[in-house]
Subunit: 266 residues, 2 copies
């Protein structure tokens, strides 16, 4: 019997060329599909909520897939975690609602970007943070980030995906936080959809605010310009984590409407 | 002019066969000596405070070395960090006091061991924690750890090093703490000296207390037995960090006395 399943996936993206299948290179999707094929005995397509770039990590990627399975969810999850490499793990595996699609049903997603702000690089943080040696001023970065909230045309910070042309997205929250870990500051952004490379482009531009090269008003001017050439450099991938994906309450039925086609490609 | 220098070293031990030079395999000491030789132009012996095992990390290893150097400390530190691989970094480089020896002058050291206690393994924590799936009870582990404080014969938890035969060491503090990071509990131990594998042997045995296989009184009985065969398994290296080394106040002159020959080999 084919059943439709969903799960949360955590991965360390360091050794992968991103989420999505690509010929000849290791990807997270390929690793999951290979493990599932070995378990259920037939090729199994896995769909993810966010198509993370090479080197980007996830603590809360959501996947769905359909597979023939006759035993318990616990057994399937255990089998996945036994066959997957140590840098990918599956949790909360369960039956998916009828019509559920990990990407199309997503209402919103949260990404977090970690920056190590100190003069010296850190060997044990190097895989999960961007190292910035110049002193960052959190106040102006926070002020600039606040301009992101609401529905805006984010054309200055990325290109559309999914075959659409709109670059309008709705940001529900965008905030910088200091960590209790020495020197780490993190940018958290919750939005109904993201453009390609949007979080990393925002971080790269907000870091220019943090070092005083742009002021918060200048950041707002870049946002309003809708001019991709005015934003800062795209920040390196290793600081970025897909943290969580929100689906409609109660179940996760596919919804039409403005959020449907705005899913994350970061 | 030859000058004697000291520095703090942070490293990710994942890809090294421990601190100490070994023919044909990468070690942290070898990486530091190679970088220094390339900078100063002559072979340079580096001495470390703790000879960490393969896979063990350090946030506060202390080193000393003598080298011909005519420019600033900042330039030498920058050169080291430019030539060292990303998983090793040098900080706080400065002139060492006359007679200073990173290992022999050390008064005490602190090691921390991180355990991820949850059913599911974690891809992004896997290099820096030991994964324990059985639920750990922190109360009994804490009670057992308290028995370690003071001067005891720790023969049940390791073999002596440095050519001595004594297995008596003084533990200044030993405590378990929950982290704010979900599921992580950490064992911190501050002692004037350590036996070979002592921290990992203590952790392996304390984990048996945490899962109820031994009670705190049983742990005390193992300590008192001085019988290496009664302690638990030696915990895997990846959870262990050398955090800090304490030297005599004011300077770091070599001291005779009981602490001199009790330096860490973990």
């Amino acid at each position: 019997m084919m059943i439709k399943l969903m799960a949360l996936v955590e991965y360390d993206g360091t050794n992968y060329h991103g989420w999505q299948l690509q010929k000849g290179v290791p990807t997270v999707q390929a690793a999951l599909e290979l493990a599932l094929e070995r378990i259920v005995g037939v090729p199994t397509r896995v769909h993810g909520a966010g198509r993370t770039d090479a080197g980007v990590h996830a603590k809360g990627q959501v996947i769905h897939f359909s597979a023939p399975w006759f035993r318990s969810m616990e057994e399937l999850q255990r089998a996945c975690n036994a066959l997957l490499p140590p840098d990918i793990a599956v949790r909360d595996l369960k039956a998916a609602p009828e019509g559920f699609h990990a990407r199309h049903s997503a209402r919103s997603k949260t990404y977090v970007y970690h920056v190590l702000n100190r003069p010296l690089r850190s060997p044990v943080q190097r895989l999960y943070t961007l190292h910035v040696t110049s002193r960052l001023e959190l106040g102006p970065m926070q002020e600039a980030a606040a301009h992101l909230k609401g529905t805006h045309d984010f054309a200055a910070f990325g290109a559309p995906t999914d075959g659409t042309t709109s670059t309008v997205r709705e940001v529900l929250d965008a905030v910088w936080e200091s960590s209790d870990q020495e020197g780490i500051v993190s940018f958290s952004i919750h939005a109904t959809g993201f453009l390609r490379s949007m979080v990393r482009s925002l971080v790269g531009t907000l870091l220019l605010v943090g070092t005083g090269k742009i002021d918060p008003a200048g950041f707002l001017a870049i946002l309003r310009s809708c001019d991709r050439s005015r934003s800062g450099p795209t920040a390196l991938p290793q600081g970025l984590f897909l943290m969580s994906v929100v689906y409609p309450a109660g179940d996760a039925r596919e919804e039409s409407g403005p959020t449907k086609r705005r899913s994350a490609d970061v």
